[in-house]
Protein backbone atom coordinates (compact mmCIF):
# COMPACT_ATOMS: atom_id res chain seq x y z
CA UNK A 1 0.00 0.00 0.00
CA UNK A 2 2.99 2.28 -0.33
CA UNK A 3 1.24 4.89 -2.43
CA UNK A 4 1.60 8.63 -2.62
CA UNK A 5 -1.04 9.01 0.08
CA UNK A 6 1.03 7.03 2.57
CA UNK A 7 3.87 9.42 2.12
CA UNK A 8 1.76 12.46 2.82
CA UNK A 9 0.49 11.27 6.19
CA UNK A 10 2.86 8.76 7.65
CA UNK A 11 6.47 9.88 7.47
CA UNK A 12 6.43 12.29 10.38
CA UNK A 13 4.91 10.00 12.99
CA UNK A 14 6.81 6.99 11.72
CA UNK A 15 10.14 8.73 11.57
CA UNK A 16 9.69 9.91 15.12
CA UNK A 17 8.29 6.81 16.77
CA UNK A 18 9.97 3.85 15.13
CA UNK A 19 12.84 2.64 13.04
CA UNK A 20 12.35 1.51 9.45
CA UNK A 21 11.15 -2.02 10.31
CA UNK A 22 7.46 -1.44 9.48
CA UNK A 23 8.37 0.12 6.19
CA UNK A 24 10.62 -2.78 5.37
CA UNK A 25 7.89 -5.22 6.37
CA UNK A 26 5.51 -3.35 4.11
CA UNK A 27 7.90 -3.60 1.22
CA UNK A 28 8.35 -7.30 1.82
CA UNK A 29 4.57 -7.67 1.90
CA UNK A 30 4.38 -5.89 -1.43
CA UNK A 31 6.94 -8.21 -2.97
CA UNK A 32 5.13 -11.31 -1.70
CA UNK A 33 1.83 -9.95 -2.98
CA UNK A 34 3.36 -9.30 -6.37
CA UNK A 35 4.95 -12.74 -6.54
CA UNK A 36 1.73 -14.55 -5.59
CA UNK A 37 -0.27 -12.53 -8.12
CA UNK A 38 2.25 -13.12 -10.86
CA UNK A 39 2.46 -16.84 -10.02
CA UNK A 40 -1.32 -17.06 -10.13
CA UNK A 41 -1.35 -15.33 -13.50
CA UNK A 42 1.21 -17.73 -14.89
CA UNK A 43 -0.86 -20.65 -13.56
CA UNK A 44 -3.91 -19.19 -15.33
CA UNK A 45 -2.27 -19.36 -18.74
CA UNK A 46 -0.61 -22.75 -18.19
CA UNK A 47 -3.45 -24.67 -19.89
CA UNK A 48 -2.97 -22.46 -22.96
CA UNK A 49 0.79 -22.89 -22.85
CA UNK A 50 0.46 -26.66 -22.60
CA UNK A 51 -2.02 -26.67 -25.45
CA UNK A 52 0.41 -24.82 -27.72
CA UNK A 53 3.44 -26.76 -26.52
CA UNK A 54 1.75 -30.11 -27.13
CA UNK A 55 0.59 -29.03 -30.57
CA UNK A 56 4.29 -28.60 -31.44
CA UNK A 57 5.32 -32.05 -30.21
CA UNK A 58 5.78 -35.38 -31.96
CA UNK A 59 3.53 -38.16 -30.61
CA UNK A 60 6.36 -39.84 -28.68
CA UNK A 61 6.84 -36.73 -26.57
CA UNK A 62 3.21 -35.88 -25.85
CA UNK A 63 3.01 -37.52 -22.45
CA UNK A 64 6.16 -35.85 -21.12
CA UNK A 65 5.66 -32.95 -18.76
CA UNK A 66 8.33 -30.79 -20.43
CA UNK A 67 7.02 -27.45 -21.61
CA UNK A 68 9.47 -26.87 -24.42
CA UNK A 69 9.38 -29.64 -27.00
CA UNK A 70 12.74 -31.36 -27.47
CA UNK A 71 12.11 -31.55 -31.18
CA UNK A 72 9.59 -28.86 -32.08
CA UNK A 73 7.61 -29.67 -35.20
CA UNK A 74 4.89 -28.10 -37.27
CA UNK A 75 3.82 -31.50 -38.56
CA UNK A 76 0.61 -31.49 -36.51
CA UNK A 77 -0.38 -28.16 -38.02
CA UNK A 78 0.33 -29.45 -41.51
CA UNK A 79 -1.78 -32.52 -40.79
CA UNK A 80 -4.70 -30.63 -39.25
CA UNK A 81 -4.67 -27.73 -41.70
CA UNK A 82 -4.27 -30.24 -44.52
CA UNK A 83 -7.69 -31.55 -43.51
CA UNK A 84 -9.96 -29.61 -45.85
CA UNK A 85 -12.70 -29.61 -43.23
CA UNK A 86 -10.77 -27.21 -41.02
CA UNK A 87 -10.75 -24.70 -43.88
CA UNK A 88 -14.55 -25.03 -44.18
CA UNK A 89 -15.10 -24.64 -40.45
CA UNK A 90 -12.74 -21.72 -40.18
CA UNK A 91 -14.42 -20.03 -43.12
CA UNK A 92 -17.90 -20.64 -41.72
CA UNK A 93 -16.96 -19.28 -38.31
CA UNK A 94 -15.37 -16.16 -39.79
CA UNK A 95 -18.34 -15.55 -42.06
CA UNK A 96 -20.95 -16.05 -39.35
CA UNK A 97 -19.13 -14.10 -36.64
CA UNK A 98 -18.48 -11.21 -39.05
CA UNK A 99 -21.99 -10.97 -40.46
CA UNK A 100 -23.69 -11.19 -37.04
CA UNK A 101 -21.30 -8.53 -35.73
CA UNK A 102 -22.10 -6.17 -38.60
CA UNK A 103 -25.81 -6.77 -38.16
CA UNK A 104 -25.66 -6.22 -34.39
CA UNK A 105 -23.62 -3.05 -34.66
CA UNK A 106 -26.04 -1.68 -37.23
CA UNK A 107 -29.41 -2.68 -35.78
CA UNK A 108 -28.65 -2.52 -32.06
CA UNK A 109 -27.32 1.00 -32.37
CA UNK A 110 -30.19 2.04 -34.66
CA UNK A 111 -32.73 0.79 -32.13
CA UNK A 112 -30.76 2.17 -29.18
CA UNK A 113 -30.57 5.57 -30.89
CA UNK A 114 -34.25 5.62 -31.76
CA UNK A 115 -35.30 4.71 -28.22
CA UNK A 116 -32.91 7.29 -26.79
CA UNK A 117 -33.33 10.34 -29.03
CA UNK A 118 -36.86 10.18 -30.42
CA UNK A 119 -39.82 11.15 -28.29
CA UNK A 120 -42.90 9.22 -29.36
CA UNK A 121 -45.73 7.25 -27.88
CA UNK A 122 -44.98 3.62 -27.21
CA UNK A 123 -41.24 3.99 -27.04
CA UNK A 124 -41.19 2.93 -23.40
CA UNK A 125 -43.20 -0.19 -24.20
CA UNK A 126 -40.89 -1.10 -27.08
CA UNK A 127 -37.86 -0.64 -24.83
CA UNK A 128 -39.28 -2.79 -22.02
CA UNK A 129 -40.37 -5.46 -24.51
CA UNK A 130 -36.90 -5.67 -26.03
CA UNK A 131 -35.23 -5.63 -22.62
CA UNK A 132 -37.49 -8.42 -21.37
CA UNK A 133 -36.05 -10.77 -24.01
CA UNK A 134 -32.82 -10.75 -21.98
CA UNK A 135 -34.62 -13.03 -19.55
CA UNK A 136 -35.38 -15.65 -22.19
CA UNK A 137 -32.55 -18.20 -22.33
CA UNK A 138 -31.32 -19.38 -25.74
CA UNK A 139 -31.89 -22.95 -24.61
CA UNK A 140 -35.61 -22.33 -24.36
CA UNK A 141 -35.73 -21.06 -27.92
CA UNK A 142 -33.62 -23.69 -29.67
CA UNK A 143 -36.53 -26.12 -30.05
CA UNK A 144 -38.90 -23.56 -31.64
CA UNK A 145 -36.03 -22.20 -33.77
CA UNK A 146 -35.28 -25.71 -34.96
CA UNK A 147 -38.92 -26.32 -35.90
CA UNK A 148 -39.05 -22.94 -37.63
CA UNK A 149 -35.86 -23.63 -39.57
CA UNK A 150 -37.21 -27.01 -40.59
CA UNK A 151 -40.38 -25.47 -42.02
CA UNK A 152 -38.56 -22.64 -43.79
CA UNK A 153 -35.71 -24.80 -45.12
CA UNK A 154 -33.06 -23.03 -43.04
CA UNK A 155 -31.58 -26.19 -41.51
CA UNK A 156 -27.95 -26.73 -42.39
CA UNK A 157 -27.47 -23.28 -43.95
CA UNK A 158 -25.37 -20.26 -42.94
CA UNK A 159 -28.48 -18.20 -42.51
CA UNK A 160 -29.90 -20.90 -40.24
CA UNK A 161 -26.86 -20.67 -37.98
CA UNK A 162 -26.88 -16.91 -37.67
CA UNK A 163 -30.50 -15.75 -37.81
CA UNK A 164 -31.12 -16.02 -34.03
CA UNK A 165 -28.19 -13.72 -33.23
CA UNK A 166 -28.76 -10.94 -35.75
CA UNK A 167 -29.88 -8.57 -32.99
CA UNK A 168 -29.45 -8.66 -29.23
CA UNK A 169 -31.28 -6.86 -26.44
CA UNK A 170 -27.96 -6.49 -24.65
CA UNK A 171 -26.61 -4.45 -27.56
CA UNK A 172 -29.71 -2.26 -27.72
CA UNK A 173 -29.42 -1.51 -24.01
CA UNK A 174 -25.70 -0.81 -24.24
CA UNK A 175 -26.07 1.54 -27.20
CA UNK A 176 -29.04 3.36 -25.68
CA UNK A 177 -26.91 4.08 -22.62
CA UNK A 178 -24.14 5.49 -24.77
CA UNK A 179 -26.36 7.61 -26.99
CA UNK A 180 -27.46 9.40 -23.79
CA UNK A 181 -23.99 10.97 -23.82
CA UNK A 182 -24.55 12.51 -27.27
CA UNK A 183 -25.84 16.08 -26.74
CA UNK A 184 -29.26 16.79 -28.24
CA UNK A 185 -27.88 20.10 -29.56
CA UNK A 186 -25.68 18.26 -32.05
CA UNK A 187 -28.68 16.44 -33.44
CA UNK A 188 -30.76 19.60 -33.49
CA UNK A 189 -27.98 21.45 -35.32
CA UNK A 190 -27.73 18.70 -37.92
CA UNK A 191 -31.50 18.85 -38.37
CA UNK A 192 -31.31 22.60 -39.04
CA UNK A 193 -28.55 21.91 -41.56
CA UNK A 194 -31.10 19.85 -43.43
CA UNK A 195 -29.84 16.34 -42.85
CA UNK A 196 -32.56 13.71 -42.71
CA UNK A 197 -32.94 11.50 -39.63
CA UNK A 198 -30.99 8.58 -41.07
CA UNK A 199 -28.09 10.84 -42.04
CA UNK A 200 -28.09 12.40 -38.57
CA UNK A 201 -27.85 8.97 -36.94
CA UNK A 202 -25.26 7.65 -39.34
CA UNK A 203 -22.93 10.61 -39.78
CA UNK A 204 -23.45 12.66 -36.60
CA UNK A 205 -24.39 10.35 -33.75
CA UNK A 206 -22.59 7.13 -34.73
CA UNK A 207 -19.05 8.60 -34.92
CA UNK A 208 -19.51 9.93 -31.37
CA UNK A 209 -20.06 6.47 -29.88
CA UNK A 210 -17.31 4.61 -31.70
CA UNK A 211 -15.76 3.15 -28.50
CA UNK A 212 -19.12 1.66 -27.56
CA UNK A 213 -19.56 0.25 -31.04
CA UNK A 214 -16.15 -1.40 -30.76
CA UNK A 215 -17.02 -2.87 -27.37
CA UNK A 216 -20.26 -4.26 -28.75
CA UNK A 217 -18.46 -5.65 -31.80
CA UNK A 218 -15.91 -7.46 -29.62
CA UNK A 219 -18.61 -9.07 -27.49
CA UNK A 220 -20.75 -10.14 -30.42
CA UNK A 221 -17.84 -11.48 -32.42
CA UNK A 222 -16.42 -13.48 -29.53
CA UNK A 223 -19.88 -14.78 -28.62
CA UNK A 224 -20.54 -16.04 -32.12
CA UNK A 225 -17.04 -17.35 -32.65
CA UNK A 226 -17.40 -19.60 -29.60
CA UNK A 227 -21.15 -20.36 -29.89
CA UNK A 228 -21.82 -24.06 -29.66
CA UNK A 229 -25.28 -25.37 -28.86
CA UNK A 230 -27.29 -23.74 -31.66
CA UNK A 231 -24.74 -24.46 -34.47
CA UNK A 232 -24.59 -28.04 -33.16
CA UNK A 233 -28.35 -28.39 -33.49
CA UNK A 234 -28.95 -26.58 -36.77
CA UNK A 235 -26.11 -28.07 -38.83
CA UNK A 236 -25.70 -31.68 -39.85
CA UNK A 237 -23.29 -31.77 -42.77
CA UNK A 238 -19.58 -31.26 -42.06
CA UNK A 239 -19.33 -28.47 -44.67
CA UNK A 240 -21.69 -26.36 -42.59
CA UNK A 241 -20.14 -26.86 -39.14
CA UNK A 242 -18.64 -23.93 -37.31
CA UNK A 243 -15.23 -24.27 -35.71
CA UNK A 244 -16.45 -25.35 -32.23
CA UNK A 245 -18.83 -27.96 -33.67
CA UNK A 246 -16.16 -29.15 -36.09
CA UNK A 247 -13.60 -29.36 -33.32
CA UNK A 248 -15.92 -31.59 -31.30
CA UNK A 249 -16.38 -34.02 -34.20
CA UNK A 250 -12.70 -33.92 -35.05
CA UNK A 251 -11.64 -34.61 -31.46
CA UNK A 252 -14.10 -37.47 -31.09
CA UNK A 253 -12.64 -39.03 -34.24
CA UNK A 254 -9.07 -38.68 -32.99
CA UNK A 255 -9.79 -40.42 -29.69
CA UNK A 256 -6.27 -40.77 -28.33
CA UNK A 257 -4.15 -38.59 -30.60
CA UNK A 258 -4.01 -35.75 -28.16
CA UNK A 259 -1.37 -33.79 -30.06
CA UNK A 260 -3.79 -33.45 -32.98
CA UNK A 261 -6.66 -32.50 -30.68
CA UNK A 262 -4.44 -29.85 -29.06
CA UNK A 263 -3.53 -28.56 -32.52
CA UNK A 264 -7.20 -28.28 -33.44
CA UNK A 265 -7.90 -26.51 -30.15
CA UNK A 266 -4.97 -24.15 -30.72
CA UNK A 267 -6.16 -23.31 -34.23
CA UNK A 268 -9.61 -22.37 -32.97
CA UNK A 269 -8.26 -20.38 -30.01
CA UNK A 270 -5.22 -18.58 -31.38
CA UNK A 271 -7.07 -16.05 -33.57
CA UNK A 272 -8.93 -14.54 -30.61
CA UNK A 273 -5.86 -14.73 -28.38
CA UNK A 274 -3.73 -12.88 -30.92
CA UNK A 275 -6.39 -10.24 -31.44
CA UNK A 276 -6.52 -9.81 -27.66
CA UNK A 277 -2.77 -9.47 -27.31
CA UNK A 278 -2.70 -6.76 -29.97
CA UNK A 279 -5.66 -4.73 -28.73
CA UNK A 280 -5.32 -5.61 -25.05
CA UNK A 281 -5.97 -2.25 -23.38
CA UNK A 282 -8.73 -1.46 -25.79
CA UNK A 283 -10.50 -4.78 -25.33
CA UNK A 284 -10.34 -4.65 -21.54
CA UNK A 285 -11.77 -1.14 -21.57
CA UNK A 286 -14.53 -2.36 -23.86
CA UNK A 287 -15.33 -5.29 -21.60
CA UNK A 288 -15.55 -3.03 -18.57
CA UNK A 289 -17.77 -0.63 -20.46
CA UNK A 290 -20.08 -3.36 -21.69
CA UNK A 291 -20.08 -5.11 -18.33
CA UNK A 292 -20.85 -2.07 -16.22
CA UNK A 293 -23.31 -0.35 -18.51
CA UNK A 294 -24.97 -3.49 -19.80
Amino acid sequence: MATAEDLTIKPTSQALLSDTAPARRQNLGQVIRWMLLFGGGVAMVMPLVYMISTSLKFPFEVYNLNLIPEEPTLENYQLVLGDIRFAWWFGNSILIATLTTVSNVFFDSLVGYTLCKFKFRGRYIVFIAILSTLMIPTEMLVIPWYLMSQQLGWLDTHWGIMFPGMMTAFGVFLMKQFFETVPDDFIEAARIDGLNEFQIWWSVAMPLVKPALAALAIFVFLGNWTAFIWPLIVTNSPEMYTLPVGLTTFSVEQQVEWELIMTGAAISTLPTLIVFLIFQRFIIRGVVMAGLKG
Binding site: R33, W34, L37, F38, G41, V42, M44, V45, P47, L48, Y63, L65, F107, V111, T114, F118, F120, R123, V126, I130, T133, L134, P137, E139, M140, L141, V142, I143, P144, W145, Y146, L147, M166, V172, E197, F198, W201, F228, I229, I233, L243, P244, L247, T248, S251, W258, I261, M262, G264, A265, T269, T272, L273, V275, F276, L277, R281, I284, V288, L292
Partner: protein, 297 residues
Protein backbone atom coordinates in the same frame (compact mmCIF):
# COMPACT_ATOMS: atom_id res chain seq x y z
CA UNK B 1 -47.80 28.77 -38.96
CA UNK B 2 -45.06 28.20 -36.38
CA UNK B 3 -47.26 25.69 -34.55
CA UNK B 4 -48.00 23.82 -37.72
CA UNK B 5 -44.35 23.54 -38.66
CA UNK B 6 -43.48 22.23 -35.21
CA UNK B 7 -46.18 19.65 -35.38
CA UNK B 8 -45.17 18.42 -38.78
CA UNK B 9 -41.53 18.02 -37.77
CA UNK B 10 -42.56 16.01 -34.76
CA UNK B 11 -44.91 13.89 -36.83
CA UNK B 12 -42.17 13.34 -39.34
CA UNK B 13 -39.93 12.19 -36.55
CA UNK B 14 -42.50 9.71 -35.33
CA UNK B 15 -42.68 8.27 -38.83
CA UNK B 16 -38.86 8.01 -38.92
CA UNK B 17 -38.78 6.37 -35.50
CA UNK B 18 -41.23 3.64 -36.43
CA UNK B 19 -39.44 3.22 -39.72
CA UNK B 20 -36.17 2.58 -37.87
CA UNK B 21 -37.92 0.16 -35.54
CA UNK B 22 -39.85 -1.77 -38.18
CA UNK B 23 -37.30 -4.47 -39.00
CA UNK B 24 -36.18 -4.95 -35.37
CA UNK B 25 -39.79 -5.26 -34.19
CA UNK B 26 -40.44 -7.98 -36.78
CA UNK B 27 -37.26 -9.69 -35.58
CA UNK B 28 -38.06 -9.55 -31.87
CA UNK B 29 -41.63 -10.71 -32.40
CA UNK B 30 -40.79 -13.59 -34.73
CA UNK B 31 -37.41 -14.75 -33.33
CA UNK B 32 -37.92 -14.04 -29.63
CA UNK B 33 -41.55 -13.70 -28.51
CA UNK B 34 -43.25 -16.12 -30.87
CA UNK B 35 -40.74 -18.94 -30.14
CA UNK B 36 -41.10 -18.33 -26.40
CA UNK B 37 -44.87 -18.73 -26.64
CA UNK B 38 -44.32 -21.71 -28.91
CA UNK B 39 -42.09 -23.42 -26.33
CA UNK B 40 -44.66 -22.91 -23.60
CA UNK B 41 -47.49 -24.28 -25.76
CA UNK B 42 -45.34 -27.21 -26.87
CA UNK B 43 -44.74 -28.13 -23.23
CA UNK B 44 -48.41 -29.12 -22.98
CA UNK B 45 -48.20 -31.43 -26.00
CA UNK B 46 -47.03 -34.89 -26.80
CA UNK B 47 -45.09 -34.82 -30.04
CA UNK B 48 -42.24 -36.86 -31.49
CA UNK B 49 -41.49 -34.50 -34.41
CA UNK B 50 -43.00 -36.82 -37.03
CA UNK B 51 -46.48 -37.75 -35.80
CA UNK B 52 -49.40 -35.57 -34.75
CA UNK B 53 -49.30 -33.19 -31.84
CA UNK B 54 -51.69 -34.12 -29.07
CA UNK B 55 -52.72 -31.86 -26.21
CA UNK B 56 -51.98 -33.62 -22.95
CA UNK B 57 -52.28 -30.81 -20.42
CA UNK B 58 -49.81 -30.96 -17.56
CA UNK B 59 -48.75 -34.55 -18.23
CA UNK B 60 -45.21 -33.55 -19.26
CA UNK B 61 -44.74 -31.67 -16.01
CA UNK B 62 -46.13 -34.59 -14.00
CA UNK B 63 -43.74 -36.90 -15.83
CA UNK B 64 -40.91 -34.50 -15.06
CA UNK B 65 -41.63 -34.43 -11.34
CA UNK B 66 -41.74 -38.22 -11.26
CA UNK B 67 -38.57 -38.65 -13.31
CA UNK B 68 -35.63 -39.54 -11.04
CA UNK B 69 -33.19 -38.45 -13.79
CA UNK B 70 -34.73 -34.99 -13.74
CA UNK B 71 -34.15 -34.62 -10.00
CA UNK B 72 -30.60 -35.86 -10.40
CA UNK B 73 -30.05 -33.33 -13.19
CA UNK B 74 -31.74 -30.58 -11.21
CA UNK B 75 -29.43 -31.35 -8.29
CA UNK B 76 -26.37 -31.29 -10.57
CA UNK B 77 -27.37 -27.95 -12.06
CA UNK B 78 -27.80 -26.61 -8.54
CA UNK B 79 -24.37 -27.99 -7.58
CA UNK B 80 -22.73 -26.22 -10.53
CA UNK B 81 -24.35 -23.03 -9.32
CA UNK B 82 -23.70 -23.40 -5.61
CA UNK B 83 -20.04 -24.37 -6.02
CA UNK B 84 -19.20 -22.31 -9.08
CA UNK B 85 -20.62 -18.91 -8.17
CA UNK B 86 -19.18 -18.43 -4.64
CA UNK B 87 -15.87 -20.01 -5.61
CA UNK B 88 -15.34 -17.86 -8.69
CA UNK B 89 -16.48 -14.70 -6.92
CA UNK B 90 -14.29 -15.12 -3.86
CA UNK B 91 -11.22 -16.02 -5.90
CA UNK B 92 -11.72 -13.22 -8.40
CA UNK B 93 -12.33 -10.68 -5.64
CA UNK B 94 -9.14 -11.67 -3.82
CA UNK B 95 -7.18 -11.34 -7.07
CA UNK B 96 -8.78 -8.01 -7.98
CA UNK B 97 -8.31 -6.60 -4.46
CA UNK B 98 -4.59 -7.30 -4.51
CA UNK B 99 -4.00 -6.58 -8.19
CA UNK B 100 -5.55 -3.16 -7.64
CA UNK B 101 -2.68 -2.34 -5.28
CA UNK B 102 0.08 -3.56 -7.56
CA UNK B 103 1.68 -1.14 -10.00
CA UNK B 104 4.65 -3.09 -11.31
CA UNK B 105 3.66 -4.97 -14.48
CA UNK B 106 0.01 -4.35 -13.62
CA UNK B 107 -1.13 -4.59 -17.24
CA UNK B 108 0.76 -7.80 -17.92
CA UNK B 109 -0.60 -9.60 -14.86
CA UNK B 110 -4.11 -8.43 -15.69
CA UNK B 111 -3.69 -9.77 -19.23
CA UNK B 112 -2.55 -13.16 -17.88
CA UNK B 113 -5.72 -13.48 -15.82
CA UNK B 114 -7.92 -12.27 -18.64
CA UNK B 115 -6.50 -14.40 -21.44
CA UNK B 116 -8.61 -17.54 -20.73
CA UNK B 117 -11.77 -15.46 -21.17
CA UNK B 118 -10.90 -15.07 -24.86
CA UNK B 119 -10.90 -18.82 -25.51
CA UNK B 120 -13.71 -21.02 -26.76
CA UNK B 121 -15.28 -23.36 -24.21
CA UNK B 122 -15.14 -26.28 -26.63
CA UNK B 123 -11.39 -26.00 -27.26
CA UNK B 124 -10.62 -25.59 -23.56
CA UNK B 125 -12.88 -28.49 -22.58
CA UNK B 126 -10.70 -30.73 -24.73
CA UNK B 127 -7.48 -29.34 -23.28
CA UNK B 128 -8.73 -29.96 -19.73
CA UNK B 129 -10.04 -33.34 -20.71
CA UNK B 130 -6.53 -34.29 -21.70
CA UNK B 131 -5.21 -32.99 -18.34
CA UNK B 132 -7.65 -35.26 -16.52
CA UNK B 133 -6.73 -38.51 -18.29
CA UNK B 134 -5.20 -41.34 -16.24
CA UNK B 135 -1.47 -42.12 -16.36
CA UNK B 136 0.42 -42.16 -18.73
CA UNK B 137 -1.67 -39.69 -20.73
CA UNK B 138 -3.07 -36.99 -18.49
CA UNK B 139 -0.98 -34.07 -17.32
CA UNK B 140 -2.35 -33.90 -13.78
CA UNK B 141 -1.92 -37.58 -13.05
CA UNK B 142 1.54 -37.60 -14.64
CA UNK B 143 2.43 -34.72 -12.39
CA UNK B 144 1.09 -36.54 -9.32
CA UNK B 145 2.99 -39.66 -10.35
CA UNK B 146 6.22 -37.72 -10.71
CA UNK B 147 5.76 -36.52 -7.13
CA UNK B 148 5.08 -40.09 -6.03
CA UNK B 149 1.48 -39.30 -5.11
CA UNK B 150 -1.60 -41.41 -5.61
CA UNK B 151 -3.59 -41.22 -8.84
CA UNK B 152 -6.88 -39.38 -8.93
CA UNK B 153 -9.79 -40.51 -11.07
CA UNK B 154 -11.16 -37.24 -12.40
CA UNK B 155 -13.70 -37.76 -15.15
CA UNK B 156 -14.29 -41.47 -14.47
CA UNK B 157 -15.46 -40.99 -10.93
CA UNK B 158 -19.07 -40.17 -10.09
CA UNK B 159 -17.98 -37.89 -7.26
CA UNK B 160 -15.01 -36.13 -8.87
CA UNK B 161 -16.43 -35.68 -12.37
CA UNK B 162 -18.69 -32.73 -11.60
CA UNK B 163 -16.05 -30.52 -9.96
CA UNK B 164 -13.61 -31.54 -12.71
CA UNK B 165 -16.03 -30.36 -15.39
CA UNK B 166 -16.74 -27.19 -13.43
CA UNK B 167 -13.08 -26.23 -13.01
CA UNK B 168 -12.46 -25.04 -16.60
CA UNK B 169 -15.72 -23.11 -16.53
CA UNK B 170 -14.64 -21.26 -13.39
CA UNK B 171 -11.14 -20.81 -14.82
CA UNK B 172 -12.37 -19.27 -18.07
CA UNK B 173 -14.71 -16.81 -16.37
CA UNK B 174 -12.30 -15.62 -13.70
CA UNK B 175 -10.57 -12.93 -15.78
CA UNK B 176 -13.82 -11.19 -16.65
CA UNK B 177 -14.84 -11.05 -13.00
CA UNK B 178 -11.43 -9.71 -11.96
CA UNK B 179 -11.72 -6.90 -14.52
CA UNK B 180 -15.23 -5.96 -13.39
CA UNK B 181 -14.24 -6.08 -9.70
CA UNK B 182 -11.26 -3.81 -10.38
CA UNK B 183 -13.48 -1.32 -12.18
CA UNK B 184 -15.79 -1.43 -9.15
CA UNK B 185 -12.90 -0.87 -6.74
CA UNK B 186 -11.69 2.11 -8.77
CA UNK B 187 -15.12 3.69 -8.56
CA UNK B 188 -15.02 3.91 -4.75
CA UNK B 189 -14.11 7.49 -3.79
CA UNK B 190 -10.60 7.77 -2.31
CA UNK B 191 -11.87 10.14 0.41
CA UNK B 192 -13.48 7.24 2.31
CA UNK B 193 -10.12 5.51 2.60
CA UNK B 194 -8.36 8.69 3.63
CA UNK B 195 -10.94 9.30 6.36
CA UNK B 196 -10.51 5.73 7.58
CA UNK B 197 -6.75 6.12 7.66
CA UNK B 198 -6.96 9.29 9.71
CA UNK B 199 -9.26 7.43 12.13
CA UNK B 200 -6.65 4.66 12.33
CA UNK B 201 -9.02 1.89 11.20
CA UNK B 202 -7.50 -1.53 10.48
CA UNK B 203 -7.25 -2.93 6.95
CA UNK B 204 -9.84 -5.60 7.73
CA UNK B 205 -12.36 -3.11 9.01
CA UNK B 206 -11.83 -0.97 5.92
CA UNK B 207 -12.48 -4.03 3.77
CA UNK B 208 -15.66 -5.06 5.60
CA UNK B 209 -17.10 -1.65 6.39
CA UNK B 210 -16.13 0.39 3.35
CA UNK B 211 -14.97 -1.65 0.37
CA UNK B 212 -17.49 -4.51 0.36
CA UNK B 213 -20.62 -2.44 1.11
CA UNK B 214 -19.73 0.10 -1.56
CA UNK B 215 -19.00 -2.70 -4.00
CA UNK B 216 -22.50 -4.09 -3.63
CA UNK B 217 -23.85 -3.21 -7.11
CA UNK B 218 -20.79 -4.85 -8.68
CA UNK B 219 -21.17 -7.94 -6.51
CA UNK B 220 -24.88 -8.27 -7.30
CA UNK B 221 -24.18 -7.93 -11.02
CA UNK B 222 -21.44 -10.57 -10.95
CA UNK B 223 -23.46 -12.98 -8.80
CA UNK B 224 -26.34 -12.88 -11.24
CA UNK B 225 -24.12 -12.94 -14.33
CA UNK B 226 -22.15 -15.95 -13.17
CA UNK B 227 -25.19 -17.73 -11.69
CA UNK B 228 -26.94 -17.56 -15.04
CA UNK B 229 -23.78 -18.85 -16.69
CA UNK B 230 -23.45 -21.84 -14.38
CA UNK B 231 -27.17 -22.66 -14.58
CA UNK B 232 -26.79 -22.83 -18.37
CA UNK B 233 -23.57 -24.85 -18.40
CA UNK B 234 -23.44 -27.13 -21.45
CA UNK B 235 -20.39 -26.78 -23.73
CA UNK B 236 -17.91 -28.03 -21.13
CA UNK B 237 -20.01 -30.99 -20.03
CA UNK B 238 -20.88 -32.06 -23.55
CA UNK B 239 -17.28 -31.98 -24.73
CA UNK B 240 -15.67 -33.56 -21.70
CA UNK B 241 -18.07 -36.49 -21.65
CA UNK B 242 -18.71 -37.13 -25.36
CA UNK B 243 -18.44 -40.91 -24.96
CA UNK B 244 -21.35 -40.81 -22.52
CA UNK B 245 -22.78 -37.27 -22.37
CA UNK B 246 -23.52 -36.25 -18.80
CA UNK B 247 -21.86 -39.37 -17.44
CA UNK B 248 -20.64 -41.30 -15.60
CA UNK B 249 -24.13 -42.32 -14.44
CA UNK B 250 -25.58 -38.86 -15.11
CA UNK B 251 -23.31 -37.46 -12.42
CA UNK B 252 -22.34 -34.41 -14.49
CA UNK B 253 -25.52 -33.93 -16.49
CA UNK B 254 -26.93 -30.37 -16.29
CA UNK B 255 -30.44 -29.31 -17.26
CA UNK B 256 -29.42 -27.96 -20.67
CA UNK B 257 -27.84 -31.28 -21.64
CA UNK B 258 -31.02 -33.11 -20.59
CA UNK B 259 -33.02 -30.70 -22.76
CA UNK B 260 -30.69 -31.33 -25.71
CA UNK B 261 -30.92 -35.11 -25.24
CA UNK B 262 -34.67 -35.19 -24.87
CA UNK B 263 -35.25 -32.95 -27.89
CA UNK B 264 -32.61 -34.04 -30.37
CA UNK B 265 -31.84 -37.64 -29.43
CA UNK B 266 -35.19 -38.89 -28.13
CA UNK B 267 -37.23 -36.38 -30.20
CA UNK B 268 -39.65 -36.00 -27.33
CA UNK B 269 -40.32 -32.35 -28.16
CA UNK B 270 -43.13 -31.71 -25.67
CA UNK B 271 -41.19 -33.17 -22.77
CA UNK B 272 -38.07 -31.17 -23.72
CA UNK B 273 -40.14 -28.00 -23.97
CA UNK B 274 -41.44 -28.60 -20.44
CA UNK B 275 -37.82 -28.81 -19.26
CA UNK B 276 -37.00 -25.52 -20.97
CA UNK B 277 -39.94 -23.90 -19.17
CA UNK B 278 -38.43 -25.09 -15.87
CA UNK B 279 -35.06 -23.62 -16.86
CA UNK B 280 -36.72 -20.37 -17.84
CA UNK B 281 -38.53 -20.19 -14.49
CA UNK B 282 -35.32 -20.77 -12.53
CA UNK B 283 -33.44 -18.09 -14.50
CA UNK B 284 -36.35 -15.69 -14.13
CA UNK B 285 -36.25 -16.14 -10.35
CA UNK B 286 -32.52 -15.37 -10.30
CA UNK B 287 -33.02 -12.21 -12.38
CA UNK B 288 -35.95 -11.01 -10.27
CA UNK B 289 -33.90 -11.58 -7.15
CA UNK B 290 -31.25 -9.30 -8.65
CA UNK B 291 -33.78 -6.56 -9.28
CA UNK B 292 -34.96 -6.82 -5.67
CA UNK B 293 -31.46 -6.75 -4.26
CA UNK B 294 -30.57 -3.70 -6.32
CA UNK B 295 -33.75 -1.88 -5.31
CA UNK B 296 -33.18 -2.48 -1.59
CA UNK B 297 -29.97 -0.53 -1.78
Amino acid sequence: MQLYRNLSIRQKQVVWAWGFLAVPIVFYVSIRFYPTANAVILSFMDWNLLGDKTWIGFENYVKLVQDPVFWKVFGNTFLYLIIGTPLSLVVSFVIAYHLDKVRFMHGTIRALYFLPFMTSAVAMAWVWRWFYQPVPIGLFNNFLASLGLQQVAFLNSTTNALPSVLAPAVWAGLGFQVIIFMAGLRAIPKTYYEAARIDGVSTWTVLWEITLPLLRPTIVFLVVFSSIGFLRIFDHVFNMTTNNPGGPLNSTKPLVLMIYDTAFNSFDMGYAAAQTVVLFTVLLCVSLLQLRLLRDR
